[in-house]
Amino acid sequence: TQLLEQSPQFLSIQEGENLTVYCNSSSVFSSLQWYRQEPGEGPVLLVTVVTGGEVKKLKRLTFQFGDARKDSSLHITAAQPGDTGLYLCAVKGGSNYKLTFGKGTLLTVNP
């Protein structure tokens, strides 16, 4: 069983559309991170959420941490081709050093 379930696995939309992707678990976390990986590059941290119910905004991206700290969502408004990439959520794993990643949502924004 995956610790983090991300949905949808794939998403292809037109420029200007809105979208939401999800990261779900049955476990409670002290914090959760979202990374974006552009084609041919390594993942880059977008945000860390730490408080249940917390909402953080990064330009057209809105991140929410669930009240029970078990899940999170990422909403993109008016998507642009530059938003294309693999969106990964991650939480601290079994030890203090490790992160466990979800499998990601591969987003394609078509011009």
Binding site: S30, G42, P43, A90, G93, Y97
Partner: protein, 114 residues
């Protein structure tokens, strides 16, 4: 800006060869990581190092070893490459600040084993 560099973007090797993947970070981070990324399987941790000369197995260490002789450099070694080690290999370096941890990734090495 933190920079994590990897020695090669693309690498092609033959079965049975010994393969070295090098990773260097310039921010004096104690922790470094090696992942592999495969379609449908996500990022899987191979090994990590929490300090110089210290290492710990990740989730899939079989067929790999690592070396951390200097703080800035973390090497992944495939002792005898096999075709099932064809993958994207990502190195990361970690900064810790309070409750949050940030991992900084290199651009990846796409390894093909023939």
């Amino acid at each position: 800006d933190v920079k994590v560099t990897q020695s090669s973007r693309y690498l092609v090797k033959r079965t049975g060869e010994k393969v070295f993947l090098e990773c260097v970070q310039d921010m004096d981070h104690e922790n470094m990581f090696w992942y592999r990324q495969d379609p449908g399987l996500g990022l899987r941790l191979i090994y990590f190092s929490y300090d110089v000369k210290m290492k710990e197995k990740g989730d899939i260490p079989e067929g790999y070893s690592v070396s951390r002789e200097k703080k800035e450099r973390f090497s992944l070694i495939l002792e005898s490459a096999s075709t099932n080690q064809t993958s994207m290999y990502l190195c990361a370096s970690r900064r810790t600040s309070g409750k949050s941890d940030t991992q900084y990734f290199g651009p990846g090495t796409r390894l093909t084993v023939l």
